[in-house]
């Protein structure tokens, strides 16, 4: 799994490629936590994300909690398998998630 972050003023774009599982989750968590200060717009680009386990959900949920106070968050280009997970967990109703 690879994580790339790009800051554009107060907008942070986090691009995740590969598989987000229990072992790779900490890397994503660190990347988000390290860069979240002062961000008002958090965007996740999951175009390259093939698969996401529950560990990934936790990170998204805590990011959403933070951004609820700081600004907005959305998840873009979500592939079907990942979208399914969002649907099953009810997160699709609560978060701003756009399919690919």
């Amino acid at each position: 799994m690879t994580v790339n972050t790009q800051k554009d003023g107060t907008k942070l774009t986090v691009t995740v490629d590969g598989k987000l599982g229990t072992s790779s989750a900490p890397e994503l968590e660190k990347a988000v936590k390290d860069n979240l200060a002062g961000i008002t717009e958090l965007v996740f680009d999951f175009a390259g994300l093939e698969y996401m386990a529950s560990a990934g959900l936790r990170i998204l949920m805590s990011s959403a909690k933070v951004m609820k106070k700081q600004g907005s968050m959305r998840i873009l280009n979500v592939r079907q398998p990942v979208m399914d997970v969002f649907t099953f967990t009810g997160m699709a109703d609560v978060l701003d998630i756009r399919p690919a």
């Binding site: 599982g21 229990t22 529950s54 959900l57 805590s62 909690k65 099953f88 967990t89 009810g90």
Partner: protein, 643 residues
Amino acid sequence: MEKSKRKISKLISLKLLIPVIVAFMLSFVLTFLILFQSASKNAYDLVKQNAIDVAVDINEKTREYFYQVSSMLTGISGLTVEEFRQNLVENEIGTTYVSDYDGNIIAAATDELMTHNIREIPEISGLLDELNSAMIHEENVSMVNMTENPQLSLDGKSTLYYAMMTIKGFDGLIVFGIEPDEFDQIMIGQGQFVASNRHIGKEGFNVLVSSDKKVLTTPSPDAEFYSEMIHSELIDEVTNVNSNLAVTENISRVQNFNTAEYEITFLTGKDEFWGKEYFYCLMPVKDVFYIYSLYPVKEALGTVDTTMRFLLAGEIVIFTVLFFTVRFLIKRTVVKKLDAVNASLTEIASGNLEEKVEVRDTQEFDALSTDINATVDKLKEYIAEAAARIDSDLAFAKAIQSSALPSVFPPFPERKEFELYATMNTAKEVGGDFYDFFMLGDSTLGFLIADVSGKSIPGAMFMMTAKTLIKSLAESGLSPAEVFTQANEKLCEGNDAEMFVTAWLGFLDLKTGIVRVSNAGHNPPVLIHEGEAKYVILRPGLMLAAMDDILYKEQTLTLQKGDMLYLYTDGVTEAMDTAEALFGEERLLKLLSFGKNYPAPAGDNGIAGAVCAEVTETLNEFTEGAEQSDDITMLCIRYLGGE
């Protein structure tokens, strides 16, 4: 941080430099002082000896002068004693006598004088004895002796210096007197000759000074010097009987086969003469004149200068070599060894605890190596103990988890309406999955499966909280949706650890087979109806403890007689094989599509138990060789219909 610390070699160089420089300067200065003292002493000795030589020489030369005169008087003309006496009578020379070796006068100007003995003249007596003792050794010696001081003449009329001599061929001792002034003049003449002719070293010389402190000789034919008085205060000092500075010594010289004793008085020092610095010795000769022996300081210390230059060069070389040798030795014995120790320590610090420090050249490093290795071994012990403790903590958490879940199967053996079986296999990292089931009233079975996001002990604790909460809310008569709504609120409170829990809760009416469901973001369970497996897709609610103020919805599904509901957590679908491929939802569904071949009942737990066993076994085969990454939890219910 490292850069601001100095290296040992630099520190030593700095700290060594100062003592070395001090030692160098001390030895240099000390040597200089010793050489200087030695050269000075030599110079003083030199001028003193020179002054003595000059004084003695002047005496000698004066004596010789008189001898020459007397020889001329007698020897050339070959006079006899009688002829000499006639000469004396004719010329009325009353102060010259001839005596025999006993002192009796055998020739004089008057008869009266011939009755005397020359021993009547005090010092002459001494001279006669000396002469007699000398003649014991040698016969026919020509000798001149002189009185030290003026003596009263035989006729009592004058005070004269007396000279006594023997002459070859003349049969008697000639004794003649000389007027003091005449004597002085002769002496000065001789003195000038001697002084001018004698040099000290290269540029040292003697200066004769008259009794009235006038310079009589000079190293250069410069008329100017003649009248100049030089350091008359020194002359006053040396003639002062009570002088502190003047030294009186007794010296002896061999003269005419005799050892002559002299008493000399002199003054030595260092002063400026005619614009130049000299070591001097000032010596009075009788009271006729003074001798200054002068030796230039520059010449005297010249050798010191040269020696010191060589010494400087030599010492610089020696001390430089010494300095670098010490530095080199320290680098080799200490610095190099320390680097070796550090290299090993770096290896250890990077994680290789098997590395040993083996620098054992010297006792100190040997001890250091042993101590470091012992320390590392001790640390390894502590690490092992700590790891064991953590393992036991994990085991403890697992025990909490396992013991919290109902594990007695079948749980309600008297109820014939259903079969129920559940398992939970924890991963190494305790995951917090749980299941639960309980009777709600007489005809409703509540059951649930849940997955907590937190790990280890915090996860286990959160799991306990959630489980207890849900059960107590359910038992208080709320609907599944209401249970979740309220549980969610409670779990959101004080959820600093940000743990979440997905859950699927169902209330099965045992009479009707209707299941009231609330789903909080959990994996859809599998419904097996007449051998066909299908996922139960219901509108999901958000996972619990994620966000507060969520209203959960209730949904229903109906179980027919023989239907099975298989609940699981993502540990099942996300189980990985060695190639990191997932077990997946499809494979699960396929596995549970029994068709006509349901697994044989597993004892009291019936087919529900058998299904769980089969899934577990299949998963084990699938994940063979790979490590279990998540808890694997499942709950299976088979509805057998109401009464």
